[in-house]
Amino acid sequence: MTGMIRAGHAYFTYDDEAEVIVNALEDVSLEISSGEFVAILGHNGCGKSTLAKHFNAIFTPYRGDVAVNGINTKDEDKLYDIRQNVGMVFQNPDNQIVATIVEEDVAFALENLGVPPKEIRERVDEALRTVGMYEYRDRAPHQLSGGQKQRVAIAGILAMKPQCIVLDEPTAMLDPKGRREVMKTIKRLNRDEGVTVILITHYMDEATQAGRVVVMDRGKILLDDEPRRVFSQVELLKDIGLDVPQSTELIYELRKAGFPLPQDILYPEECVDALQKLMEGRYGNH
């Protein structure tokens, strides 16, 4: 199945009544297929969160359309179908946990959907195991670390069995350890469970782990390609105030200084290999 989420020439604005309309989204067209891992990049205020909120009908475009599985997000009768299919995880884990016990919180969405109690129990346990938080099911949220809380929040979405999870800067408030935990969980969901993942981030190293990177600037989609090709456009990215991964940056500067290096280096290991090759070529093998 392709084209699970489809945005066609979508426009959105926050200030309907203002005379000069400032578009938060401007002519955004995007198609995301089932099973993809897409990272959406951009600096603050570029419209990436706004776009994410279109994917599960929190916002609807004033011009153009967004459709999930062929259902237009403006169709209010199907609102809960859409929200169940496209789950959303936010930045601050504290502000999305509703219940005072981990497992009760994971059950929250299923209770809302009217799932029978026995099935809720099974799906909650399964979701908690998937994110590796099963042992913490009886704890209170405030006893957990940031990364653990965020994983509970992910489990709460996962229990709905969505086809797609949208994560809006899920690691922005976490320490490095929490970030690693959450990224590992997200990658595993995509790889092992076949969940479509849309990761909104401003960390470059997180974006490099996706299969596709969408770069946004001022409400428009600027680049939409695989990470290697996106990050090889170092100058363009720097122009709109974005960084590139550290290894890419290093190679870029070296190339500028005249060293013969390949252009599309993305990961640290590749960088090491390329540099080693360069040194061997130049100084011989010691």
Binding site: R83, V115, P117
Partner: protein, 266 residues
């Protein structure tokens, strides 16, 4: 420091009373309160004390916890006792100036004192053995029939749950703001009462702003998880009455009957 505050006074355990259905515990607590007020003699109250000894014994809540729950109401207990002692007419024992202490006064004072102590100990047992979340759950289901007259039962329970959930978060936040303001030279500990109250303003305002922001985000997250009010909602944990509940109800009934019989006989 602020983090160590516990919510409610739940005393975790796994006794028969802990495992009882919260609905039954609430109902029985009310029955116990009524029983204490029905009892019109010291012997009736003895039944109440007996009930407490048995239930606290089963619950394994240490008796020093009773003293702890008594602490805040010591002034009320003393006030009631003294009032009763001086203002009940009867055969005087001691007389000085315009005061006189009567035999009836003393016995009534003791009677009232025992009654209040039993009342607090009994209700405390419920909160000691029931977690706040179970209590909320029990209240929601007990009030269930009121939904028919459009009483917002689910909404109230939801508000209680969210409040319980956010108390530790907001306490932590208060702590952070206090430290931030202290780092900027705010003086929170000295000065007159009015000065100290004024010093709280720079703490309360950021706290409120952040609480509203949190509420906004929480509402959004709840919507994303298909929250649409209480209608058509199911629950993961189903409350069910078991054998302990039956025995507890039976024991309560026997005690209550005993009190009524004592009332009639004496």
């Amino acid at each position: 420091m602020l983090k160590d505050i516990t919510i409610g006074q739940y005393f975790p355990g796994n006794s028969l009373i802990h495992r009882m259905d919260p609905r039954m515990k609430i109902v029985l607590t009310f029955a116990y309160i009524i029983m204490l007020f029905v009892a019109n003699s010291m012997f009736g109250l003895l039944v109440g004390i007996l009930f407490l000894i048995v239930t606290y014994g089963i619950s394994k809540v240490p008796p020093r916890m009773i003293l702890k729950s008594m602490k805040p109401i010591v002034p009320i207990i003393l006030f009631t006792a003294i009032l009763n002692m001086f203002f009940v007419s009867g055969t005087p024992i001691v007389e000085f100036w315009i005061f006189k202490i009567t035999r009836e006064g003393i016995s009534l004072a003791i009677f009232m004192l025992v009654r209040i102590v039993c009342l607090i100990a009994g209700t405390s047992l419920m909160t000691y053995t029931t977690s706040p979340i179970a209590l909320t759950d029990g209240i929601e289901r007990l009030l269930g029939p009121l939904k028919k007259i459009r009483f917002p039962v689910h909404e109230l329970a939801m508000m209680m749950t969210i409040a319980l959930r956010f108390i530790p978060t907001l306490i932590e936040e208060t702590d952070k703001i206090m430290n931030a303001q202290k780092a900027r030279g705010a003086d929170l500990e000295t000065g007159s009462l009015i000065q100290r109250a004024k010093a709280l303003i720079p703490i309360l305002i950021p706290l409120f702003v952040s609480a509203f922001r949190r509420a906004d985000e929480l509402a959004l997250a709840m919507e994303c998880r298909c929250y649409k009010g209480g209608e058509g909602r199911t629950r993961m944990k189903i409350l069910h009455m078991g054998l302990p509940d039956l025995f507890a109800a039976l024991f309560m009934t026997i005690c209550f009957a005993g009190v009524i019989v004592l009332n009639i006989l004496l």
